[in-house]
Symmetry: C3
Subunit: 316 residues, 3 copies
């Protein structure tokens, strides 16, 4: 999409060099053929260092733009980013892609739907009513149980098991809201990458990234009815017990254990080998590894147990 | 169904005029060709004002019945209502209905099932393994991802997106229990109505109404793994974050924001522009709009934060 | 599988009589043609009384083995059990089984998949995109809504209703972890048994047992988005409200009522007619029947209410 067209879609002035823009991305990750945006002063450092060709930006943050980066000046930059995201959304299915390929020894139900462009490795089992979207890639020896949905562009590694009725790669929960309280969808043009030897339970939701990838690293175990928000990065061998979840962009180190019905707020960093008792509510980073936490607000689990004992004494 | 037949099904005496009854409904909403019921003295005002042709009623509440309204006197009126509900349940599928119609420009997978009587609007995308039930209506430009189930009689508006593995219109959780502890299903003969520009995540359950409609108003955003009980009414542009939910018959004003893992009890009224922090437990009406709450029991969020600080001090 | 082969798979010495072993089982339930395991000193009594032909056991517990029971001595017996479990896992589908049988009067969608070896009773309704696995048995008059997955060997009784997108019989959440933090799947070779007159909501996960059966007794009612872990036993007429759940091996008496978002830890015994308010967290046995509990940590509900009132006073 031409940069001039983007300016026109967003209704902003444009007199820069007109180049081809291939996508949208975060300030830190954008390349010089991508457009980015900024909506919050806490990202000023990221503006200063961005390599994006152009940035959707409110007037009062213009000063921070690096030289050579085109300003797309708008009133509500988050809303404008949402408007533009639709233009970079690929079609859900694409008949012009080549037919799916299926590796040797794989057993794929004729009641599964494998979209054009998808690739399934060797010795996989894909059961009835599975959907594998355009350009999705499934590794070798992977089992996908009935009624699983894998959205386009998602990647599943070797030796994985995905249980029934799980959704991999649905859109992350992203939208802008204007001052009338109306919402505008932010198209989620990233994907989900699941590494090797991962098992995911039934009725799980792992959302695709807005940009880039939601990442489930090697050896992770996810129980039933778990929510993994867009752009999370789940460290290897981490464990999510049933009905737990994470909001978007949270990053877990390796071997983190998340108790049942626990949840992470978004944009956190969690040290490796952290343990969370059932129903923990985690709203801040965990920097020291190997400890056990519980409660909401979160505290060390042994403190939480002592605190509950003290609280019970209030009744006496 | 003849009123005399209903009396016979319920095992009650009958010597009134024998008219055709077309359905069951709540006391307030029943028309004069419908039957209603009362099981609780708190609805006495509703009995007095009902337009129902007949009411299933225990002996000791008979005095409140308006003139001309036929009494169907039973011992356990809630149980009797459950017994009768089955007789008004339409067939799940109905081969006598006309074939489904699909609007111009819509792309419907041949691995989707569109039941007789359903109508799909223009320029929709309906992916593989979707089920759209009898007489369901889908508006224009709506996208329904794989493995979504939309039960019979449900209505989805224009410009909606429903993500994979979501169930719209399953039966609300309704049953009567007798004094042996046995349960009798209350057939849920209402539907779900989803207005325009609604996006619903993956693995969501929106239950159909027992009578009337569960309503999701224009512009609502629902994240993954959310539960919406029967007969809820979700105000426009309201937002449910992942793993939150509502019990039945709760009514939200517009732009209510419901944090992750929060939940509403049933039969509440929530003022517009209310905000609920993650894991709020809401068990009473909210009358003043625009405030932010948290905790369980619920309190204003700033109070909850202060309280947690005080509680933490108990440890010292 | 020959016992000598098992010893070879586990890399342990073997000089006993070489007999055919037909399966794995818990110490208490194992028969003399099965192999069992012990990984924890709290099961010493169970070792002493086991009828298993052989037990996977660490060296330091050897003394407790009954005479005639073969010791399969390994370093990490839980890990070894996981390794072996894969060898007893039946194929997901089995083309050598006879074609499925469907009882008189049943309506089965041609877009459902009924695997070889399955049996469907009379007058059932099985809708599109349902999957019924190998050797699964469905009783009479049962309704299975679209996109439900029933895994192999599971049993559903008469007069049941299973709502859309529910998964019955996915693998329980079982794995061993070594001292590098890597996980090894424990294949779940048991099943789920659902008795008569059970209704299960949408997006529910009922996991199959590791050995034996996960049991949902007669008349149980399960709402949407509920998690039932492997080897649970849910007493008749018990009720799970939406988004509640149970970890594995918990046993409920009859008519237990579980409020929304409540959860049980694993391996508990809950007295009949116990009631749990919404968001109860149950981590210990309940021995006295008929009481009402709430909170986390759990207490009697009337105490929890009093306690919350006291806590609120901290703010003054």
């Amino acid at each position: 999409m031409k940069l001039s067209k983007i300016a026109s879609v967003l209704g902003c002035e444009f007199d820069a060099e007109d180049v081809e823009i291939v996508g949208m991305n975060a300030l830190r990750d954008a390349q010089d053929n991508e457009v980015s945006f900024v909506a919050n002063t806490k990202y000023i450092k990221d503006i200063q260092q961005t390599k994006a060709k152009a940035v959707i930006i409110p007037k009062d943050m213009l000063d921070h733009l690096p030289e050579g980066c085109v300003a797309l000046v708008v009133e509500n930059s988050y809303w404008s980013m949402a408007v533009l995201s639709k233009y970079f959304a690929p079609p859900i299915e694409d008949d012009t892609l080549p037919p799916a390929t299926i590796g040797q020894g794989s057993r794929v139900s004729d009641k599964a739907e494998i979209a054009n462009g998808a690739k399934i490795g060797k010795n996989c089992t894909v059961l009835a009513h599975v959907y594998i979207g355009a350009n999705a890639v499934i590794g070798d020896n992977t089992v996908i149980y009935p009624n699983v949905t894998i959205y386009r562009d998602c990647v599943v590694g070797d030796d994985c098991i995905i249980h029934a009725n799980t959704a991999i790669g649905a859109d992350g929960f992203g939208f802008a809201t204007n001052n009338l309280g109306e919402h505008k969808k932010i198209y989620q043009n990233g994907n989900v990458v699941i590494e090797d030897d991962v098992e995911i339970g039934s009725n799980v939701s792992v959302d695709r990234a807005v940009f880039g990838s939601t990442l489930i690293q090697k050896g992770v175990r996810i129980d039933n009815l778990v929510q993994i928000g867009h752009n999370c990065n789940i460290g290897q061998y981490s464990v999510f017990v049933a009905q737990s979840g994470s909001a978007g962009s949270t990053k877990l180190g390796r071997n983190v254990v998340v108790g049942g019905q626990s949840a992470f707020a978004g944009h956190l960093e969690i040290a490796p080998f952290s343990n969370f008792a059932a129903r923990s509510g985690i709203t801040h980073d965990i920097k020291e590894s190997g400890k056990t936490y519980g409660g909401f607000p979160l505290m060390e689990q042994r403190k939480w147990l002592r605190l509950q004992a003290k609280i019970a004494r209030l009744l006496k």
